[in-house]
Symmetry: C2
Subunit: 467 residues, 2 copies
């Protein structure tokens, strides 16, 4: 009889708990879709502030703005975490053309890659050598490369369903192209933009010279996909054509900046920290709405949505707006360094840095047991069409927090449109749909709510019954 | 021993079959994403032809164009199916303003609803009465309504995840508003546009006078959501303000048009017909890219993708481009009527009429057993993030085919952005993402392939082993 009562009480607790979870998720989603702040905040970040390259005035205005917004939310703590960041500036606009014969030129759209040096005064003009990947350079060797501009024309693979895989397959061309081409005496490198679509926008992004001495560094720029196609076609017709470009970018000394942090302190386990975040910096060409204004405002709204939905977390929930993800990751590294120094116990971190598109689910860097635990919540997410709970990448900023105790996760929005806008002048507010952004914020809040409630402990099987 | 061999051969057949299915789905998706025609066809339909209202010259040009395109595909049959369609024309552009006092006016964005009559020459100007639904009219009665313009201001419900549910909750206001308001002596009806977003686009759509005699009919128009908010705010401040609008639309006599049909005749069961379709007509304000150019070009590409992927269907597959879904459904009715008259055995029909957005899955009007059969294919679709296989609505054009033998299905793309564009001037090509459109075409082809291979028979449990 005693056992029966125990069993019954377990069953009832289970059902009540599930009911409450269902109700709380509904509150969270309703609140985000009818009363969310993410879109309004993004409007300000994008249209009132704009592109937020690390070390720029805009980045500092964004630090102040988001801190002020946190302060309106009645959080337990809001603070700035100092971090020194690199400062690269684009300078006067780039200019480029294809020259088929002296005086006969066609202008093309390029932009300097982040971290690149400028061209010499007056620009650089030379014959081109086209390759599909920087790995082709070794076989060509100095005789074919010296004195030329290397054109790396590797299209993203269209048949990959997850566009981030297609990006991963090509991003090393952008990152390593100049470093490798310089070894064989190239004058400069032009890389096809990492864009699945054919259009006129050049897409910037970080590149690296590795340990190449200053004297051997060469300028590197991205060309729009339309112009990459044009250029490739023109080279096929005329191997002797010349390419000209000038760019005026510069790496300046590091400057002071900040991660912006807002916290709801845990009511029962304040020393167990759950992080949700995105990065506050962006590239300079657009206004950084998708990358990563979306992740910033969604993370901010997680704290607000928890409060608005009457949920008092047991554990400490921190929204961290990381600085300098794009060209240094200094904010992410600093946050992890300080957490370690303070001996803070971070049990979970979630990043949103894949655009403000309809959320499909989450990917996890965790044990299989933890993944199974999250997957057991699947039915709670079904009404919101959140279906994807798989092992996979989390996010760059939270990466440095990795250790044996923490579970890392990434929001996985629909990826089809992301690289149309990524790092380009058309990463702008009008390309963000309010509802898609709000669904993302709600989904993140729902996951954080469940993680807070049920923890990341997978040793016992009855974690669902703790409450 | 014999039984063991039988069992083994079943297991092997099963695995081979699944392998082939996996491979064929990969071929279909690869082909659509790297070599698809849907986007190119849509570009032509949208940018070279434009809006395709039934009975318009554009609609007839679209009939010829899609027939010609079918003819390039090496199909077994291509034909036009004659159908008489209504012809409603918008005439000179609408004009509207709010008048707070004589001479003090604010212009607002409206458009006539499809099927509405014109305003009297010189327009109509009167006081307004605002209601949230036409059902409020009865309580107000003739004393409060007579001589006024009724303003139905019902916002779509933002917290519904499926935006079609939110649309369903409001569309009867647009459809019935004028008919109901006329009963109480209203001069005209203005309806809030069915758009979840706040913007300046008025959204048209069909309305009906039911059996109201001509003499009692009143003009009806939609107002943009921004202007609906403005108007409502101004009414709250000043109940005596006046609203003016003029529109010049007209219902003309029916004209001849066509459904456009392409067919791959079945190699084994030519008398079992599978239909895939969308509607070729559209409203006139935009170019009808999402509604339903997308469904048209996807349906066309289903036939091409089957052929390109080397799949020879056992059953007859027909792509049907229906005419006049928007304001009459004549094409859908005619197709079903002819099919019935000919005694054709339609076993399955799939419609794409929810926009060219990332496909999430399908909804089915079928027996539970058939739904379970489709759900057993879920793992085949997992690599393509197609996860939604549920009972639900199929499509307007294929609805008239309904009988006890046929399974009806609808493609379910992500619905978040659809009503930003639906029936408005911004339903245009640049709002369609190539990859999203192509993923939809591939998903439709994959489903048609599986239905063709395994049939819709659910009596036996071994349908998977037939091949």
């Amino acid at each position: 009889m005693k056992q029966l009562i125990l069993l019954l009480s377990i069953v009832i607790t289970c059902q009540l708990s599930a009911q409450t979870d269902t109700e709380n998720l509904k509150k969270i989603y309703d609140n985000s879709l009818t009363n969310g702040m993410s879109y309004q905040w993004l409007d300000h970040l994008s249209n009132q502030i704009g592109g937020r390259l690390s070390g720029s005035l805009n980045a500092e205005i964004a630090v102040q703005y988001t801190k002020e917004q946190f302060e309106t939310l009645g959080l337990d703590k809001v603070w700035l975490q100092p971090v020194m960041v690199p400062r690269w500036i684009r300078g006067a606009p780039e200019f480029a053309y294809i020259e088929t014969s002296p005086g006969k030129t066609t202008s093309v759209n390029i932009c300097a890659l982040g971290g690149s040096i400028a061209t010499p005064t007056g620009g650089v003009k030379a014959n081109l050598i086209e390759v599909e990947t920087y790995k082709d350079l070794e076989a060509l060797g100095e005789t074919k490369i010296k004195g030329k501009i290397v054109f790396i024309n590797r299209p993203m693979q269209a048949n990959l369903i997850n566009t981030f895989e297609a990006y991963g397959g090509c991003s090393s061309e952008r990152y390593n192209g100049a470093k490798e081409a310089a070894k064989y005496g190239a004058l400069a490198v032009i890389v096809r933009s990492l864009n699945l679509r054919l259009d006129d926008y050049p897409h910037t992004g970080s590149m690296s010279y590795g340990d190449l001495p200053n004297s051997q560094r060469i300028p590197s720029a991205a060309i729009s996909t339309n112009d990459a196609e044009l250029l490739s076609g023109m080279i096929a017709l005329n191997k002797d054509l010349k390419f000209y470009f000038s760019q005026n970018c510069k790496q300046l000394a590091d400057v002071q900046s900040y991660n912006v942090i807002g916290e709801i302190t845990g009511s029962e386990f304040p020393n167990e920290v759950i992080v949700v975040g995105g990065h506050l910096d962006s590239w300079d060409l657009g206004d950084g709405s998708h990358d990563d204004g979306a992740g910033v405002v969604q993370s901010m709204d997680v704290l607000r949505l928890l409060k608005e939905s009457g949920i008092r977390p047991k554990r400490t929930i921190r929204a961290v707006l990381f600085m300098n993800e794009e060209n240094g990751l200094r904010g992410g590294k600093k946050y992890a360094e300080v957490a370690k120094k303070k001996g803070e116990n971070h049990i979970f971190a979630l990043e949103s840095d894949s655009g403000g598109f309809t959320p499909r689910g989450f990917s996890f860097q965790s044990s299989e047991a933890m993944l199974a635990k999250v997957q057991s919540w699947r039915s709670l997410f079904k009404p919101y069409l959140i279906h994807y709970f798989e092992a996979g990448y989390s996010g760059a900023d939270i990466g440095p927090l990795k250790n044996d105790n923490i579970v890392l996760a990434g929001l996985r929005p629909d990826s089809q449109r992301y690289f149309d806008h990524h790092h380009a002048a058309n990463d702008t507010f009008e390309h963000v749909n309010k509802r898609e952004l709000e669904l993302g914020a709600a989904s993140m809040t729902a996951l954080i709510y469940l993680i807070d409630k049920y923890g990341t402990d997978t040793i016992t099987n009855d974690t669902e019954l703790k409450d």
